[in-house]
């Protein structure tokens, strides 16, 4: 599949994950989120930005526990839970948030 963003065609795989991570921009993220039915709020952006920063350093999305700890630090301990992340990203913070952040899908037994 592909996304049409700003008159450009952005290549994605069967599930909507970007083929080239460098194609990502914030407008595209909004577009992917719309496809996913996720209304982007500042809280969503906190998660997306953290994912992207972490990926830039480690070439992988953060583990769920790393993510919840980081969110707790930034947004308060009551939001540092897997449950809260699922509220933001109903299909799972790992996969759905990664898609919106333009990162590859975590694979394996997750």
């Amino acid at each position: 599949m592909a996304y049409e963003c700003n008159g450009k065609t952005i290549e994605a795989d069967e599930e909507g994950f970007l083929v080239n991570i460098s194609d990502w921009n914030e407008q595209l993220a909004e577009l992917i989120a719309k496809d996913e039915g996720v209304p982007m709020s500042p809280e969503h952006w906190e998660v997306i930005n953290f994912l992207r920063d972490y990926y830039a350093e480690y070439q992988i999305a953060p583990a769920v526990r790393v993510l919840t700890k980081a969110i707790a630090k930034k947004m308060g301990p009551e939001k540092g839970s897997n449950k809260y992340l699922y509220e933001l990203f109903p299909y799972g913070p790992g996969k759905q948030a990664c898609k919106i952040a333009g990162l590859p899908k975590p694979t394996g037994c997750v």
């Binding site: 069967e14 992988i60 583990a63 526990r65 449950k83 790992g94 037994c109 997750v110």
Partner: protein, 503 residues
């Protein structure tokens, strides 16, 4: 979630055989592997033009290499004992999900091209008289769809009077499809990551080390103790090999914390290895011996490099099958390890032994108000053992759980021990595009779970397999349950263990 028709759960004691819905799952198939997933494994990038000839050649190789496969092809008498034993059939009503029908997709080709009658009758278009079929592209597509609706759980083989193992047939079919360039994306992409990065997840060493440091900090905060998560520590007694999901996902990581606390509590020195960061071995799912061997070899190399005395496996179902049943023939001998311990050992054997000898102490109030049941993972239940007595793989996990929780209840006996049902996501089916079959395939397990929830107050289900944990986390909400209802066995140990000076 909306477009999946969720099966209605009944009474496991009066399980209904579904009405047949021919073709119900004919459209269910995983993504086809692309050249970047196929080629690093030595498979053709895409379906080769002379695929039929190549596939039959490979089938001939496998029939002569694996005598069991030849016997399975010849020995089925169509008695029907297997027909209502597959969770995917029970959840979908698609007659091609009856194990015998699944085998027949393979058997019909075998009969056409490998039996004298099939060759003769097939040549004049009468192969149908003996159940022989031309190997057409349509039939190949059916292979792709229905051999990826088998989780290789082997429940049907328990009921087959001849012991035909559908898992082996489905592994052979997948091996043939890989060899002609018609592989499955999920498995092959993952195997590629194991070769390139070291684990199914694609978790690089520095990220893993960062994760482990974070866990050590958490342990200090939670327990006040220096519970360590050592990595690449030469000379440690134990090398722990665990699924990479244990470093990443919930509830998996809570199990990893449990292993670390057990080693800490018992004073056993241990280490992980940046080389062997994956216990899982998807080489088995695709039926490819070479891949299986190559993936297992990393464990041998890590054990030698780190000069460990024992190898212990974390909670992972099919990894334990490969480890328990095949590790020595794949990458043995293990004469450099301490002969006083089994090679390999399961973490549940270690923990149970320590509980019995008083090497660790537990306090059930750590799991206050929890009522547990356990899901026997298919590969642990039917393809391996724990301990030194028959049935240890059922007894030992239950003993550990019972030591940690105030109340334990078993599910219906037709769904536990060797008759356990697959979680619905095993055998390389744990991928999002197969969510429909995964949800439906979980039906028999969900039925048995609902029974003990409704009638015995069960609050949580323990699992000892990374795939089961991930699958239940995803499918429980479809059936109206909380995703956190599934817990790691060692998560319960982690909650109950008493650390520090408690003499």
């Amino acid at each position: 979630m909306a477009d999946i028709q969720i099966p209605v759960l009944g009474d496991p004691d009066q399980r209904e055989i579904p009405s047949l819905i021919p073709g119900a799952m004919a459209g269910s198939k995983p993504y086809v592997a692309q050249p970047p997933h196929q080629e690093p494994l030595g498979f053709p990038g895409e379906l080769v033009p002379d695929w039929q000839e190549k596939a039959l050649g490979r089938m001939g190789d496998l029939l002569s290499k694996y005598r069991s496969l030849q016997v399975y092809m010849d020995i089925c008498v169509k008695c029907g004992a297997c027909t209502d034993k597959c969770h995917y059939f029970l959840g979908t009503g698609d007659p091609k999900n009856m194990p015998v029908a699944r085998q027949d997709l393979f058997r019909s080709v075998y009969r056409r091209y490998f039996t004298p009658a099939g060759k003769m009758l097939g040549a004049v278009g009468l192969g149908g008289l003996i159940g022989a079929k031309e190997f057409t592209k349509d039939l190949l597509d059916e292979w792709f769809n229905y051999f990826h609706q088998c989780s290789q759980c082997r429940r049907c083989s328990v009921f087959c009077p001849y012991g035909i193992d559908t898992a082996e047939v489905s592994m052979a079919a997948r091996e043939i499809m890989d060899s002609i360039g018609y592989g499955q994306k999920y498995c092959n992409e993952i195997i590629g990551k194991v070769h390139k990065i070291g684990n199914n997840l694609g978790l690089p060493g520095p990220a893993l080390i960062d994760n482990l440091e974070g866990l050590e900090e958490d342990m200090k905060d939670e327990t006040g103790q220096d519970v360590r998560f050592p990595i690449d520590e030469e000379g440690a007694e134990v090398l722990l090999v665990t699924p990479s999901a244990d470093f990443f996902a919930e509830p998996h990581v809570l199990g990893l914390i449990g292993y670390a606390k057990v080693f800490h509590g018992a004073g056993i020195s241990w280490t992980l290895s940046t080389k062997a960061t994956e216990a899982g071995n998807f080489g088995m799912f695709i039926g490819n011996y070479e891949q299986m061997r190559k993936i297992a070899m990393r464990i041998r190399e890590a054990a030698i490099e780190l000069k460990v005395k024992r190898i212990v496996f974390g909670e992972c179902g099919h990894a334990w099958r490969v480890a328990y049943s095949f590790l020595t023939t794949l990458v043995g001998p293990w004469d450099f390890l301490d002969p006083r311990y089994p090679v390999p050992q399961h973490i549940l054997e270690v923990t149970n032994g320590l509980i019995k000898k008083g090497g660790i102490k537990l306090d059930k109030s750590g799991n206050d108000k929890m009522v547990l049941t356990v899901h026997d993972s298919c590969n642990v239940a039917r393809a391996s053992r724990m301990g030194d007595f028959p049935g240890g793989q059922f007894v030992i996990p239950r003993e550990v759980i019972k030591s940690c929780v105030p109340k334990f209840v078993d599910m219906h006996p037709d769904t536990t021990h060797e008759k356990t049902f697959c979680c619905g996501g095993g055998g390389g089916l744990l991928t999002d595009e197969l969510m429909d079959i995964r949800v439906k395939g979980a039906k028999p397990r969900m039925e048995a779970l609902k029974d003990v929830v409704d009638n015995q107050g069960v609050t949580h289900m323990a699992s000892m397999c990374a795939i089961c944990k991930a699958q239940f986390t995803k499918v429980l909400p479809y059936y109206g349950y909380d995703r956190e209802m599934v817990v790691s066995v060692h998560q319960l140990v982690s909650n109950a263990i008493i650390l520090g000076n408690n003499d």
